[in-house]
């Protein structure tokens, strides 16, 4: 069990499933580094998600008709 309560296996399963969906063939030797990067994104997510954003905010525009 990791510090935040997730099982280390949860991340491995998520990575395998996600890569399967995307058609990315994983080499097992890449796994540790990918986990480290997934966790780095998760740390950014912690900062991004709190406090919650108002419902009324639109995304920054990518497309303009």
């Amino acid at each position: 069990m990791t510090v935040d309560g997730t099982e280390a296996g949860d991340e491995a399963a998520m990575i395998r499933a996600g890569c399967r969906t995307l058609g990315i063939l994983l080499d097992p030797t890449w796994h540790e580094a990918i986990v480290a990067n997934v966790r780095a994104i998760a740390r950014q997510a912690d900062m991004l998600l709190d406090p919650p954003l108002p419902d009324t905010i639109d995304q920054a525009p990518v497309f303009a008709a």
Partner: protein, 452 residues
Amino acid sequence: MTPWATAMGITAAIQAGQTTAEQVVTDALGRIAARNLALNAFTDVVADRALARARQKPDGPLAGVPFAVKNLFDIAGLPTRAGSLINRTDPPATRDAVLVERLEAAGAILVGGLNMGEYAYDFTGENCHDGPSRNPHDLGRMTGGSSGGSGGAVAGGLVPLALGSDTNGSIRVPASLCGLFGLKPSYGRLTRHGTFPFVASFDHLGPLARCVADLAVSYDAMQGPAAGDPACTGRIDPVCASLDDGVAGLRIAVASGYFQHGASAEALAALHAVAAALGVMREVELPGAARARAAAYVITASEGAALHLERLRTRAADFDPAVRDRLIAGALTPAALVVQAQKFRRMFQAAMQALFETVDVILAPATPCTAPLLGQQAFELAGQSVPVRANMGVFTQPISFVGLPVVAVPVAAGALPIGVQVIAAPWREDIALRVARTLERDGVCVAPQPKG
């Protein structure tokens, strides 16, 4: 001419009949041949093309000036490698990137393509396929990236002018670590047509040089809309005429809080030196800067992965492992998180717009520290050991996140230089350049020559 001649100095000397474009280019090619092995700044040299062009005696505000471009810019006849192994087998570009065309139309002469971090997902300037760019101030240290070769080529006296790209800091970081002036314009100011992308939401292009006038003249030559580039503005706002207008009347403040947290003593000293020279007493907080950086991180990971998805599916083993593993993690980022990041981008933009009602210029460190050693994996930031590759841009990311124009200005910091960001409101590159020019003229910000 001396290797340290500026672009404006070269043009003046040619126009005065003291030298010729052919001699200038011949000398630049000689310096590249002599020093590129040590600096590893250039990946491609287009000597025949450059000399042929020089013999035509091109005219214009950059007449005879040799320049080079990060190798994600299209150069006709070469595959656009973008620092990668994979792109090397692409067909050669049929046309130069539009910014290359515009600089040549202004009389400048392209001499080659420059080393970069693979696919621009990098702050170090190290490339596992082409080798690391080396910092001219200490060959055992990084140039910073991802426009590492751009920083090394100009700081090392190979060429006076180079173009780079900046998604989260890739012009400003090498400008800082190599002791150069670098301009990241407003998002959408300079056309990206004919360049290999990274994150369409954040990609900017711009010049690096050893003096502010060179930035300004090259920037003015490159402005203007481009067919087939909907992200590029139609507005043209020349800056050269106002470059020496000084800073009287400008409201200037130092960014506090996030932008000083974790900065090294050298970074803070440089920031305070610039502030003192400008007589700045005021500090401002950029509300949500840490969150802006987090959002930029998430969008970069996700959009970068989307761009490279097919390459990850078919040639994952051919990537730089450090880039590949970040991209794969990015591909797995939940879409809802990316949407949140884009929503916050709108909020942060509005907050910055409001802040720029009360201030004209904001000063902030460009990098948290001076150039790390080549191969260094981690550095200390706010008491924590963090990866160099992902964190050298902590102070640049929140700014490019909302496309603000920035001039990175060099400050001598003991043995190694370090940069400060001069940040202005959208479309006010003129103000940022005026401040940079004042600092340069007053001797506070000067691009140092490498010792030895």
